[in-house]
Symmetry: C2
Subunit: 163 residues, 2 copies
DNA sequence: GTATAAGTTCAAGTGAACTTGAAGTCAAGT
DNA sequence: ACTTGACTTCAAGTTCACTTGAACTTATAC
């Protein structure tokens, strides 16, 4: 009854490469038992987990974040409806957040479509010279700083007072 | 009057590392003249371009796509309002598209919140066994296939007929 | 009973987007 | 003059999310 799946089967049903499925197992996103032969044997509910992974990636989460989200589910048995529901609710919140971000971007742009600038708050028409300079360092305020490319370098920390 | 900026100044005002600014120049996203010394001299409108780059990245475009979008602007002079406006309109369309995608995801999820599954179309309640199997390979239909991680491997192409 | 397909591990490669380091030049302050 | 900071180039390193390859074992098909 507990019909287990091989990597190949999981890969095909999840629409992933088998190497990706192995990789996800190595990363702890999904779990597998082993057959006597050493072959992986997956419970069918890994397909659900993998669907979650794919969608969460689409929303912009890293595998690490996804792993953390999934850590709320049991490893040794299929999650209950309630457990999945809890996860999905949190995921919905993420989506709402992200949608709100993009809508803010879009609406800000629309209100400034006339001049085509991207300042969103301080339109180039009312600040034709160097709009960024008046707001301190750069267009960062466009981005909400919640995520996005966040370089680890220290170079940007330097301030010279020469500007 | 055409007051030009150094890498450092551009970096600070754009909120980027100087190395990133040099990198973007190397990638053709922005252009610079050179002083006698060999130092880069940027027109102030690179700040606008960089703002566009940051926001477009946030929306999920690659630097290559962004470069293509920016290629519609002149390199040798500051773009006109009309030129920026054209770019921004296209960009708005991208945002709308992306928002629609996420809303679809969210709404699909909401309608299935009861069971917490992610099948969106074929709820696990009506298809309690292996929902994915009934729809062919995997949860890909969740993703709209428009973008997202698209592995180059051929591994997934294989079909065995054993499933 | 052998070919072939699918599985295993481990190390190394890939591409995107940068960063870091080395080695040296240019500019400003004292 | 000398130090310091910003700049130059170029090569190499980093992280993420995987893929690819090598060397080998297990399972299936004929």
């Amino acid at each position: 009854m507990e019909q287990l799946l091989s990597v190949g089967e999981v890969a095909e049903r999840a629409g992933l490469a088998a190497s990706a499925v192995r990789f996800y197992e190595a990363q702890g996103l999904i779990a597998a038992r082993r057959a006597e032969s050493g072959h992986r044997r997956f419970r069918r509910d890994v397909l659900r987990r993998l669907a979650f992974v794919r969608v969460a990636q689409r929303v912009g989460l890293s595998l690490e974040e996804i792993a953390e989200a999934l850590s709320g589910l049991p490893e040794d048995r299929a999650p209950t409806k309630a457990e999945w529901a809890r996860l999905s609710r949190g995921w919905r919140a993420r989506l709402d957040e992200r949608i709100a971000l993009l809508e803010g971007l879009r609406d800000g742009l629309s209100s400034c479509i006339g001049c085509g600038c991207l300042s969103l708050r301080t339109c180039a028409l009312s600040n034709p010279g160097d709009w960024a300079a008046t707001l301190g360092p750069g267009p960062r305020y466009l981005l909400g700083d919640a995520s996005g490319p966040a370089p680890a370098g220290t170079e940007r920390k330097k301030r010279t007072g020469r500007g």
